[in-house]
Symmetry: C2
Subunit: 385 residues, 2 copies
């Protein structure tokens, strides 16, 4: 096991009818900005619940944070926070709204040009406004971590930043808030949580038995609940398991003390920035191809993954690895999520365009061994055609 | 899944050579009291390492905290803290030292008679001194939770208290600190972590799939590492897995959103208070007997436990439950830990004495269904003869 530090101060408030607890979680004297995405937050009644729980506090709102939240949009929220002297942020939505809120929390108190926060990966964050979240879409884990991904529309740049100063103070997870989600977003969430887990698990053996068991437990759970999560939107327990699984997939726990990959994410980010493909859907494009190309460095863990997650115990090692990758691909496709670039009418031109972006962003040594250079990214992308 | 709150603010610093990080973790201006147990902390060099890392800070020491830390001993530490105006505590040891430090942290700032803290279960703690820990014995999980168990020698009372104010600020977990432990303490640690897990897992199905998988992962890991943990004291990775497993077994994670039992602990506490049997050893006495007596209310989970932890898949339901309990009993016995009261020369008299204590302490409705009354506790104790 590698040395590690684990410190996750976010308070999780989980369960039915928990939005009302905002009345105790947000300081009485706070000047609050509620941040949200599209019209669904209003339509579903969640915003009304939130307003009611906040009672007599000073509350303003900022809607319109888009999927893959943009610097351009978020800077308008930063201006509102500064102008109105707001001092507490409340994200109501999914990973995009929460990621965007993290940026606003840091940018509002940042002395320079806030895009520098993304450019420096968050290392230059010295302070941030406190904030909480009301999660409505289980997928990214942003509700219990200190990471964020922001896109600059002007340059198609999609950059991640991290800082311990942007952990949410609290996150409210009410599984019933997911009942009204479109099926496609639930499918995206299942894939997102699955790939977050594999990025921290499918590397090489590191004698981290608990982390392996926990990662396998999350993957098994996602596979087990997927059919009901898709077919029965109001099955409370299934949605509760999805919500808690997605949170635990990226809260630092399964990644503590183990090697990590994240190449699937880095390549996927370029596909989103260039072609506006949903984040999770880019992961489904890249992961099966990457596992195939990286089968040698990942051999031992791919065999373990096959046996413990997919119950694949017969055949040669390569046959078992083939079967594990095929089962993973079939899992994504079964959710209605394509695993081939051709499904988006993308071909060799896209491969070249993505490679150019990876080079421009310095993504030339990805993966747990830093062995995914541009040549190997090319092989991965071509295997995804 | 039940509604839950999960909030664990303890920072874990895990790995080889991490004691030196105390120099950054403890405030520069702190007036520190180091609390420890017996002579081993000095002999192994751990105290010297701690002193060195604390540098020029004002540091005092308080040794002699015994297993099952006593109110009588701890009150001397409280007096020292108050007299010397110390403001930061550092526990160096295992669960007893850490539990004791939690009591000192709260008692030093408590206006009334500090034993009231134990009597009220911690509900009357309004403030506590900040403290950190250097863990040397993986077992209790006290390094990452807010619970403590204190014994009053005068009355043989062993009482637990909880308060979010007594989470350690940080805990340093260096697996190498366990290399010099006596085999019996390692065996105790394996059993303690195992039973902490079963207390939160072997109840009834609650549609908490992730918590089940995580609990099973901890149990599987303990079973897998036990032989090497016992036979090869300096196997770093094995001890690292033991240490991290024991911490995760009782940090609130696997218990979030699920029913819990804790009857094994409550009955075990009386055995320790009356006969001075090591805490973990009392759990090994009670658990197999309790699972047998409670096989009806626990039927579904016992079958799941048998299948997922012990790979028991054939036979009638009752045969599989018998086999799961037998495997659990054999696991404890294989570690050199008896599962029968007769091994301690205790018989029917002890049963009567424990029942009297349970009644005196109001422990008359134990277990996840509150159905373990004195009559059922009698059946459990008699099944352990």
């Amino acid at each position: 096991m590698k040395n590690f530090e684990f410190h996750n101060p976010t308070k999780i408030v989980f369960g039915a009818d928990t939005v009302a607890k905002l009345s105790k979680l947000v300081p009485e004297t706070a000047r609050v900005l509620i941040l949200y995405g599209g019209a669904s937050a209003e339509k579903t009644g969640t915003l009304a619940e939130v307003r009611s729980a906040l009672g007599n506090r000073t509350v303003q709102e900022f809607g319109g944070i888009e999927p893959n939240p943009s610097y351009e949009t978020l800077m308008r929220a930063v201006e509102q926070v500064r102008r109105e002297k707001l001092d507490f942020l409340l994200a109501v939505g999914g990973g995009s709204v929460i990621d965007g809120t993290k940026f606003v929390a840091a940018a509002a108190l940042y002395a320079g040009e806030p895009w520098e926060i993304a450019e420096r990966g968050g290392a230059n964050i010295k302070q941030a406004l406190p904030f909480g979240t009301v999660l409505t879409l289980p997928a990214t884990g942003s509700e219990m971590n200190a990471g964020s991904v922001i896109t600059k529309k002007a340059t198609h740049a999609k950059l991640a930043f991290h800082s311990t100063l942007v952990y949410p103070q609290f996150s409210i997870l009410d599984p019933r808030k997911t009942f009204t989600l479109p099926v496609s977003q639930v499918a995206n969430g299942l894939v997102d949580a699955f790939v977050h887990t594999t990025e921290q698990y499918l590397t090489y053996p590191a004698q981290a038995r608990v982390q392996d068991r926990f990662a396998e437990g999350l993957l098994q759970t996602l596979v087990d609940i997927a059919p009901t999560a898709i077919d029965t939107p109001d099955d409370y327990d299934t949605r509760a398991n999805l919500m808690w699984t997605a949170t635990l997939a990226l809260n630092g726990l399964i990644g503590a003390g183990v090697p990590q990959d994240w190449a699937t994410h880095m390549i996927g980010h370029e596909l989103t920035a260039l072609y506006d493909i949903d984040h999770a859907r880019t992961l489904a494009l890249v992961l099966p191809a990457l596992l195939d190309v990286q089968r040698e460095p990942k051999r031992a863990k791919l065999l373990q993954f096959g046996e413990r997650v997919w119950n694949i115990t017969s055949g040669s090692d390569d046959e078992r690895i083939d079967a594990a990758i095929a089962r993973t691909r079939a899992f994504f496709e079964g959710l209605g999520i394509p695993t081939r670039l051709s499904a988006y009418a993308l071909g060799q031109d896209a491969v070249e365009a993505v490679l150019k972006q990876l080079e421009a962003h310095g993504m030339t040594a990805l993966g747990e061994h830093r062995d995914i250079d541009l040549a190997r990214s090319r092989r991965i992308l071509e295997a995804a055609l």
